[in-house]
Amino acid sequence: GAGVSQTPSNKVTEKGKYVELRCDPISGHTALYWYRQSLGQGPEFLIYFQGTGAADDSGLPNDRFFAVRPEGSVSTLKIQRTERGDSAVYLCASSYSGVNTEAFFGQGTRLTVV
C-alpha cells in the first residue's frame, strides 16, 4: 500500500482479555516502530525493529506487552491480560534504515479496555 496501515482502527476489549494489533509498514522499510499515545499526551516509544529483530524494546511497560515481526515486514503488538490503563492509541511507524530517514506513521489503533 501507499502508507502504513494499522488494523483494526478501533478495538474494544474487556479487562483481562488478550489483544493483537497489526501494522503493515511501507514496502521496503526495514525499520518499524511502535508508540503509544494516551489522551492529552504525546506518543511514547515502545519498541523498535530493525528487520526481524527487536533492536530496542526499552519502552515496553511490562511483560504483558510483546511484539513480533517474523518476516521483517508486518508486525503484531500483543497485549496479555489487558488493564484499563492500557487504553490508548497505539501508533506504528516505518522508515528506511540510516541517519537521514523519515518515519511515516499510520493512523493508529484506538484500544479501549472496559
Binding site: G3, V4, A31, Y33, Y35, G40, Q41, G42, P43, E44, F45, Y48, Q50, A55, D56, L91, A93, S95, G98, V99, N100, T101, E102, A103, F104, F105, G106, Q107, G108
Partner: protein, 117 residues
C-alpha cells in the same frame, strides 16, 4: 534521560497572523530535533527536522524552525497562518549518537494550534 517541553498546550491565533510554537529539550549533547503535525483523524506527519548544519530549517506548508543550542530550543514559526493549519503540533527529539535510532523519538505533550477566522 531526554525530555521535551512544550509549555503551551493551546495557542489561539487569528487567520493570517504570525505564530510561534515553543519547544525546549533537556539534553546538552547533540540530538536530532523534529516537528510533527497531527490533523484531526489523521496520522502524524513530519513538518521538518534538524540533524546538523544550518540552524534555520524550512519545512512543509510554510513552517520553519530555528535550532538554538545555547537555549536548547527548537521553536516553530509561520509568518501567516491559515484555517487549515489548525492541528496538534508535536516537538520531538532523538539521540542517535548514543546508540539510539534516528526515529526513536521522545515527544512533547503537544500544542493545539487553533486558527480562528
Amino acid at each position: 534521560a531526554q525530555s521535551v517541553t512544550q509549555l503551551d498546550s493551546q495557542v489561539p491565533v487569528f487567520e493570517e497572523a504570525p505564530v510561534e510554537l515553543r519547544c525546549n529539550y533537556s539534553s546538552s549533547v547533540s540530538v536530532y530535533l523534529f516537528w510533527y503535525v497531527q490533523y484531526p483523524n489523521q496520522g502524524l506527519q513530519l513538518l521538518l527536522k534538524y540533524l546538523s548544519g544550518s540552524t534555520l530549517v524550512k519545512g512543509i506548508n510554510g513552517f520553519e524552525a530555528e535550532f538554538n543550542k545555547s537555549q536548547t530550543s527548537f521553536h516553530l514559526r509561520k509568518p501567516s497562518v491559515h484555517i487549515s493549519d489548525t492541528a496538534e503540533y508535536f516537538c520531538a527529539v532523538s539521540d542517535p549518537f548514543r546508540g539510539g535510532a534516528t526515529n526513536k523519538l521522545i515527544f512533547g505533550t503537544g500544542t493545539l494550534l487553533a486558527v480562528q477566522p
